[in-house]
Amino acid sequence: MRTDILNKKGQLEIGIKIMVLIVFLVLLIISLIVYFRFSYSSLRETKEEILEEKFSSLVNVIANLPELKCSITNIESECLDARKLVAFGQVLYEDTDVKNNYYEELEINSLVVKIVYPEVAGSIECDESKLINCNVFNLFSLKGDYSDEGLKYTTPVSVYIPDNGKYVIGKLVVTSNA
């Protein structure tokens, strides 16, 4: 009789222990899921912050390059000179060494300035003979196709057109691998 009771007691305790273990495991799994979800989202945020920082400083550097920036009698102003953009694009297109130097410095896939205001219908590339009524300045492309491959970062920029003395609004588009 006593052995029966002890057996039942043992079974009951094992049952209780299993139940406690199951509840504990469920809680552990839930807490792990919550923890890793937070960790994952914070990791993603950190990645975005690092990329934002990298691209912000990169775009800041590019927008302030003396090769591209407006300057009148050696006084720089906060805009990009359309003539300098065309010349810069031509030099990089023709001279591979210069292009490679810029790639080593900036580590970007492509660099394009697109005019968004005033709007020009279609996609017309600007060149030495055509600075008005065009809307794309292709400055740099690693592969030569000016594609949007990789991570893209854009910032509005003021572009000065010396041919008519007007300022337009463009978007500096930088693509790079993370």
Binding site: K9, V23, L27, E78, Y117, T155, P156, V157, S158, Y167
Partner: protein, 164 residues
């Protein structure tokens, strides 16, 4: 008789043990809740650095908007946007005209330069006036502000971008 006492004691012990385990579980649940709240709090506090970095883009946009060459309604005069805005602020301040054309131009520019998930708030002030005379954009209360563009004569223009 002996069996009965044994059973009674056994159930009493089990009851106490069950209570102790439930108490333990409640503590675990409470600890988990506190850790969850702690994570949420930490997550909410860490936002300052992003704001600082993104400021660059808004500053660029305000600078580009102030410089862009635009024309008046009939297209006879071309000048930088800042000149048109200053003139329109004077007109609004003296109740001689409105800023309808300038506001239309600004809306057009922001529509072309901002992303789909970005909203904006553009304000134009004249010194001595606490409320903005130009107030464009809706649904943008908390966002990233550009450094105000100030011009001689007490003109001030502010731009804020909000992300949804």
């Amino acid at each position: 008789m002996h069996n009965k006492t044994f059973k009674k004691n056994f159930y009493k012990k089990m009851k106490r043990k069950g209570q102790a385990e439930i108490f333990g579980l409640i503590i675990i649940v409470l600890l988990l809740l506190f850790s969850l709240l702690f994570f949420i709090k930490i997550k909410q506090e860490d936002t300052s650095s992003v704001t600082l970095r993104s400021n660059f883009r808004v500053n660029n946009l305000l600078n580009a908007v102030m410089k862009v060459t635009v024309s008046n309604v009939d297209g006879s005069i071309e000048a930088p946007m800042r000149d048109f805005l200053r003139r329109c602020l004077d007109n609004v301040n003296s109740n001689t005209d409105s800023c309808g054309h300038e506001e239309e131009l600004l809306q057009n520019i922001f529509g072309k330069t901002l992303r789909e998930n970005e909203k904006y708030k553009f304000e134009g002030f004249v010194s001595g006036e606490p409320t903005p005379l130009i107030d464009l954009g809706e649904g943008c209360e908390e966002g990233i502000s550009a450094s105000p563009a100030r011009f001689p004569g007490g003109y001030e223009f502010r731009l804020k971008i909000c992300y949804s």
